[in-house]
Symmetry: C2
Subunit: 393 residues, 2 copies
C-alpha cells in the first residue's frame, strides 16, 4: 500500500506529521477522485456536505472507501447502501469500511457485521459518548457542577466542536442509529429516536438515586426488540444504572456496548470511544481489510417487517421540586393511580427541596403523564426530571 495523495483544506497550515515518500498534498479533491491509480479513499473530513461528495464520488468511481464520519452515515445510510448495491451489481466488489465512525476504540462495527450473522440480537445497550461519561463520573465523584464539568471536558478535548452534540445525547444517538441497522437490520432515522441529554442532571440525583437503589447515573443508548422480532424501541437517555450492572463501573471517557442475543446471551465491548489514535487505528484496520479483500459486507443484515415504537417499559426515577403544602403526597398518589403508575419507593429528606419517586415497571407514556400533571400542580416548582432505571441484566 502507498499513500499517494492527501487532500486538505489549507495546504499552508503547519502539520505535526511528515508525508510518506512520493505523497503529494492538494486542496482539490478531484486530484484523488479523478486519479485512476487510487484504489481507496479515506475520508476523515467530517460533516455531511463536502464529505458526502467525497464518499459518494469515490464509490461511484469504484474506489473502496474508509470513513470515520458518523454524522454522514447516520444521516445517509440508506443512500450509501443503495449506491453500494448499484456499484456492486457487477464487477469487482467495492468495499465500504466505517469501523472508525462508531466508538473509535471498540471494534463494534466488525463485531456486529461478522460475529452475529447467525445470531438474533435482542438488545443493544451502552455508554456511547465519552465526553458525557467523563462528565457524569466527575460530577458524582467530585461533586463538580454540570457547567464546570463541561468547561473542563472541552478543555481536555473530550467534547465535540459543538458540545451540545455530546451533552444533548445526539452524538450517542447517531451511533445508536448506525448500530441498530447492523444489529437488527432495521433502518431507523436518528430523528425518530427519542433523545434526552444530561443537561438537567443535578447533584441531588446522584445522591437520591444511590440512596434509593444503589448505583450511579449513565447516559445510555438503548435499542430493544420485542414482539418476537417485530417491534423495536430505541432511545438515548440518562438512566439510573444499579450496582451489579457492569455498565455502572465504566467510568471516565470510556465507551461500552452490551449486545444481548439469543446465542451469545450477553457480550460487552469496552474501550476508548474516540481520539486521534483509536480513530486512526480503526481506519488502518479497515484499509488493511480492503487490501485483503476481506472487509465484511457493510450492511448485510436487512429486515423490513419491524415497527418502530416510541414507548417502552421500565422502572422510572422521577425527581420533583416542591414547595411545602399540605397533602402533597396524597395528591401525588392520586395522580399516579389515575395514570396506572405504581410507586416502588419514595424519598424525601427534610433538608432538601426535592423528593424522588421510583416507579414499578411500566410504560414510559404513563409516567410522562404523571410528570406532566405534577408539573401543573400548585406545589410543584419548575420541571420534573425523569429517567429510566436500567435492569441489572
Amino acid at each position: 500500500m502507498e499513500v499517494k495523495t492527501v487532500v486538505v483544506r489549507d495546504k499552508s497550515k503547519e502539520r505535526d506529521w511528515a508525508l510518506p515518500p512520493g505523497c503529494t498534498v492538494t486542496e482539490d479533491v478531484d486530484d484523488v477522485l479523478d486519479d485512476a491509480d487510487i484504489d481507496l479513499v479515506v475520508e476523515v473530513a467530517g460533516g455531511t456536505t463536502f464529505a458526502k461528495d467525497v464518499v459518494f464520488g469515490a464509490l461511484k468511481k469504484r474506489k473502496d472507501v474508509v470513513t470515520a464520519n458518523k454524522a454522514l452515515i447516520a444521516a445517509c445510510l440508506p443512500e450509501i447502501e443503495a449506491l453500494l448495491e448499484d456499484v456492486n451489481a457487477e464487477g469487482d466488489k467495492v468495499s465500504f469500511g466505517f469501523e472508525a465512525a462508531v466508538c473509535g476504540g471498540i471494534p463494534i462495527i466488525h463485531t456486529l457485521q461478522t460475529d452475529f450473522v447467525g445470531d438474533s440480537v435482542t438488545r443493544l445497550r451502552g455508554i456511547m459518548n465519552g465526553c458525557t461519561n467523563w462528565m457524569l463520573t466527575k460530577m458524582e465523584a467530585e461533586g463538580v457542577s454540570y457547567t464546570d464539568c463541561l468547561t473542563e471536558a472541552s478543555a481536555l478535548g473530550y467534547a465535540e466542536a459543538d458540545p451540545t452534540l455530546d451533552v444533548g445525547g445526539f452524538d450517542a444517538r447517531s451511533k445508536l442509529a448506525i448500530m441498530i441497522r447492523l444489529a437488527f437490520g432495521v433502518d431507523v432515522s436518528e430523528d425518530d429516536i427519542s433523545c434526552k441529554g444530561i443537561t438537567n442532571i443535578k447533584q441531588v440525583d446522584f445522591a437520591y438515586a444511590k440512596e434509593l437503589l444503589g448505583g450511579t447515573i449513565k447516559l445510555l443508548g438503548v435499542a430493544e426488540m420485542a414482539a418476537e422480532g417485530h417491534e423495536l424501541t430505541a432511545y438515548v437517555t440518562p438512566a439510573f444504572v444499579p450496582d451489579g450492572n457492569t455498565l455502572a463501573v465504566i467510568d471516565d471517557a470510556i465507551n461500552a456496548v452490551e449486545i444481548t442475543s439469543e446465542n451469545l446471551q450477553s457480550s460487552l465491548l469496552v474501550g476508548r470511544g474516540a481520539g486521534r489514535f483509536p480513530t486512526a487505528n480503526s481506519c488502518v484496520s479497515d484499509i488493511v481489510g480492503c487490501a485483503r479483500k476481506g472487509l465484511p459486507e457493510a450492511f448485510a443484515k436487512k429486515t423490513t417487517d419491524v415497527t418502530f415504537m416510541n414507548d417502552f417499559s421500565s422502572q422510572f426515577y422521577l425527581r420533583i421540586q416542591y414547595r411545602n403544602e399540605v397533602g402533597i403526597v396524597g395528591n401525588l398518589g392520586d395522580i399516579c393511580a389515575k395514570h396506572d403508575v405504581s410507586i416502588y419507593s419514595l424519598l424525601q429528606k427534610p433538608e432538601s427541596d426535592y423528593f424522588v419517586l421510583i416507579t414499578e415497571y411500566g410504560p414510559r407514556s404513563n409516567i410522562k403523564k404523571v410528570a406532566a400533571e405534577v408539573e401543573g400542580a400548585s406545589w410543584c416548582v419548575g420541571d420534573t426530571f425523569l429517567m429510566p432505571v436500567a435492569t441489572k441484566e
Copy 2:
C-alpha cells in the same frame, strides 16, 4: 450453503436435533475427506488425535476448516501454520477459522486478527475460564468451600470433562497461548507458561485480601510485553484484583479479555466463555466468513526477536499459616530483607492461624525465595500461598 455429511462416533445414539434435508450421517470421516463436493469441514470432536487427523486431512485436501478445538490449536499451532503456508503457496486460499476455540462467546480471535493489525499490543489480561470464575464468585459470595463449589460447577456443566483442566488453570493457559500468538505474533509453547490454579485458595484469602486492599480474587491469564517489544512474560495465576479494576466485577461463568495497546490503550471484551450456543454461533460466523472468502488470515502477525521470560514483577500477596512462637515477625522481616522484598502491609488477626503480607512492587523470583525460606522456618505450618496483586489499570 448446504450441510452434506455429519460424522459421528456412534450413529445409533439419540440426538436432540433433526438433520437438514439431503444430509447423511456416517461414522467414517473419509466420507467427508474424500468427497470433492465438500468445501468446508467443521471439526467439533475435540481432542488432539482423531481431531488432528480430521483438521490436517481436510486442509491437505484444500478444504476450509472451522474448528472449536482449543486443545489442538494450543498444542499444534506451528504445525497448523506450516501446513496452511504450504497449502496456500499456490491456488485459491484455504481458510482456517477458530473463533469458537477461545472464549466461545467473545469475538476475541477475529478482533485480534483484524482490529490490531496497525496497533502494538502491550498486554493481554483476563478471566479466561468460566468454571473457575463461577466457583470463585460463589466461594466469596456464599462462603462455600472449594470442594463443594467444584461439585456444583460440574453438575451445572461448567467444568470440563476433566475438571483439573479448569481448576488447575490449564484451560486458561491453552487460551492464553493461542491469544499470545495472535496478539504478539510470538509462538509460546503452553508448557512454558507458568500455571497455578485455584485449588489452594481458602476463604481466609478473600477476607484478608479484601481487608488489606479492597477487591476480590480472580484466576487471571496475563501476557505482557516489555523491553520495547523484545521480552514477553506470561502466566496463569489467581490474582488479587482491586476494586476499580473492571475485571473485579466480572462474576459467574463469564470470561473477559482486556487488551492494552499503543493506539487503543485499553479494550475489554466480556461474554460467556463457552456453552453450546456460543460455540455454535462462533462456528457459524466462521463458516459464513469462509463462504464470503472474508475470513481474516489465521496467523498474520509473526515476530521472532522476542525472548520469553519466566519472571515478572508485581505486588504480591503471601499467606502464611503459623504456630505461635516468639519473634515471628522479626524473623519474617529478616527473611524479606535478605531477599530484597519490601513489605507494603501486614495483617494478622488474633482469631486466625494465618497472617498475610502484601509486598511492594518487585520480581516474583524474590518473593518466591521468601516463601521457600518461610516454609523452612520452625513457626511455619504447611505451604504458603502466593499470588500477584493486579494493577488497577
